[in-house]
């Protein structure tokens, strides 16, 4: 019974990772860049909810909407200011270091505004938990909401990409930017849309993450961000189902290793998995193998 509880908590954590990983994987697939600042958008989303709900005392629904809208705008803004000028730069390092700069900027801006002391985030989920297996296992409201939300978002995203024009444009841009432009696709608009969706998902992930782990500080987003990237790589970067599977697996592994091996070493175990995966199958579980041509 204990094992099942650990497993469920692992799936809960994994669902949050999956939500974040979706943002990473979409941006990587389309802009071919590792958006280091993605993790910090999570933190921004959580802080917006904290300000609207805890400080201003507005209902959670308002907080959620405001956070999603603000983070979407933030994502587009970051892309326009920091990444777009570097598109087509000869060095790949340039945009990566810029992304690190953006991440640093967001963290330190939050530190200046909200201070270093961690804030106590109130859960945005109003539901009570349920008990199954004759009261032996308790699943709290947050767990149900998180798992449900991530499944719904994952399905919606898949449908969006497969069935809508904008989604098809995304696929085309990720395949070949130049050819997509020749076919009349607005490449810049599509990339902005990708950043917008990714950041909106990050906002949702941020508030859900903080509902479970309430300590909110300026560095809240960086660890889940890095782990979610690990998840995206694990599942095969660029692949949406891959990000989902990778996220869930990573969450379960992390929680089980925390429970049965060592709390202190759980991060080391998670990162070792990343290294092993990259060595054995650099394209990840569901990734496509692309051969390099001279």
């Amino acid at each position: 019974m204990e094992f099942i509880e650990f497993l469920i908590n692992g799936v809960r954590l994994g669902s949050v990772y999956a939500l974040i990983a979706l943002g990473y994987t979409m941006v990587y697939g389309i802009a071919k860049m590792l958006n280091f600042a993605h993790g910090d958008v999570i933190m921004v989303g959580a802080f917006v909810v904290y300000t609207t709900c805890n400080t201003l005392g507005l209902p959670p629904v308002v907080g959620i909407v405001v956070a999603v809208v603000l983070c979407t705008l933030l994502g587009i803004l970051i892309e326009k200011i920091a990444y777009k000028p570097l598109r087509g730069a000869t060095s790949n390092l340039a945009v990566l270091i810029t992304a690190i700069g953006v991440s640093y900027f967001l963290q330190n801006a939050a530190l200046l505004i909200f201070g270093a002391a961690p804030k106590n985030f109130t859960s945005i989920v109003p539901y009570e938990g349920i008990q199954i297996a004759g009261g032996q296992i308790t699943i709290d409201g947050e767990t149900i909401v998180i798992i449900a939300v991530s499944i719904v978002i994952m399905i919606a995203l898949t449908v969006f990409i497969k069935k809508t024009k904008a989604g098809q444009a995304m696929l085309a841009v990720s395949e070949d930017k130049g050819a997509a432009q020749l076919m009349g696709i607005n490449v810049n608009g599509t990339i902005s849309l990708t950043f917008a969706i990714g950041s909106a998902l990050a906002a949702v992930a941020g508030m859900l993450f903080c509902s479970v782990y309430p300590g909110l500080s300026s560095t809240t987003g960086s660890m889940p961000g890095i782990k979610a990237f690990t998840a995206a790589v694990f599942g095969g970067i660029g692949s949406i189902p891959g990000a989902f599977i990778g996220g869930i697996l990573l969450g379960v592994i992390e929680n089980l290793s925390k429970a049965y091996i060592s709390t202190q070493l759980s991060d080391a175990i998670v990162f070792s998995i990343l290294i092993i995966v990259l060595l054995v199958k650099p394209t990840g579980l569901l990734g496509k193998n692309i051969q390099e041509k001279v």
Binding site: Y28, M33, L34, A82, P85, L86, R87, G88, A89, T90, S91, N92, L93, A94, V95, L96, I97, T98, I100, G101, V102, Y104, F105, Q107, N108, A109, L111, L112, S222, I226, F229, T230, V233, S262, Q264, L265, D267, A268, F271, S272, L274, I275, L278, L279, P282, V294
Partner: protein, 373 residues
Amino acid sequence: MKANSIKDKFTNLKANKPLRQDLITYAIVIFAYLLIRILDMAGMVNSQLNGLLVPICVYAILAVSLNLTVGILGELSLGHAGFMCVGAFTSAFFSKCMVEAIPLAIVRFPVAILIGAVCAGLFGVLIGIPVLRLKGDYLAIVTLAFGEIIKNIINTINIGRDSNGLHFSMKSAMDLGMEKDGVFLIKGAMGITGTPGDSNFTIGVILLLITLFVVLNMVRSRDGRAIMAIRDNVIAAESVGINITKYKLLTFAISAALAGMAGALYAHNLGSLTATPKTFGYNMSIMILVYVVLGGIGNIRGSMIAAIILYVLPEMLRGLQTYRMLIYAVVLIVMMIYNWAPKSIAWRETHSAKDLLAKVKGVVASKSKKGGN
């Protein structure tokens, strides 16, 4: 005869621009060292600046060694603090064990530094092997993960010593099961306390000079040219017979060993050594990267100077401390866009200082002509 050869050497030096540049770099370090020493003797170095002297050397060494990987090899490493961490802990562990066996600091400390550098170098090879298969973003994230793993593992290690010998545990300090006379050498997250304070400014400057000597000579050598060829085009380098594996590993190992040396210097400057996110975490690696980027990627002297200025400035100006990181972040973004954005490059080509000067001169010339007529 003798004068002649010196003269020959002098003309040689005039012709050899890289050598001249390197000598200028060494001269800057030695001059700065002498300046500080003279000011110190005159009683003009306050205790605050005095406390900064060793850390300045540590960060300058770190920046120079990271520049070897980022600037010369062209691969982004975000785990540099991890190598520093390995060097710091192995050397501090050695010093703590040997503090009674070798009472002379002048013998003990160089050995400790060597051990720190060698261990970090070995880790450099260890992480270098898997990293060879990766590049770009993947490499960055793996080195980052590696740094976190190192920090994580060191936080769980407990080593103690009693009359029965050494005890080791990865669970808790209580788990060691030591006799009453036992002393903790490494105590989990509490780290190592009571490392002998062997570091001083002179040793720091010597280590910085060694680092510069190693890196600059490597860059100017055949090996260095091979490494830069790999950076500029892997496939072309491979096709002219450059051994990619060898050179990548070599660069990684040397860069890591130098970082380990900096770690040893750092560890022996502090009474207690702990592996917290602040000291050896991801942020520390980024901090060093900021020094490298702002000093100029691939510019060894630049990263040294950037490390010194960026470390000292916020410490001296208290008001700047709060906004330091924010300013660094903005500067980082602006620098990258200015240096690499295609539009900015095109703009700089049409608006270079030389052209502007020529234009101004032309205008002045035409005006004076008119005036003359």
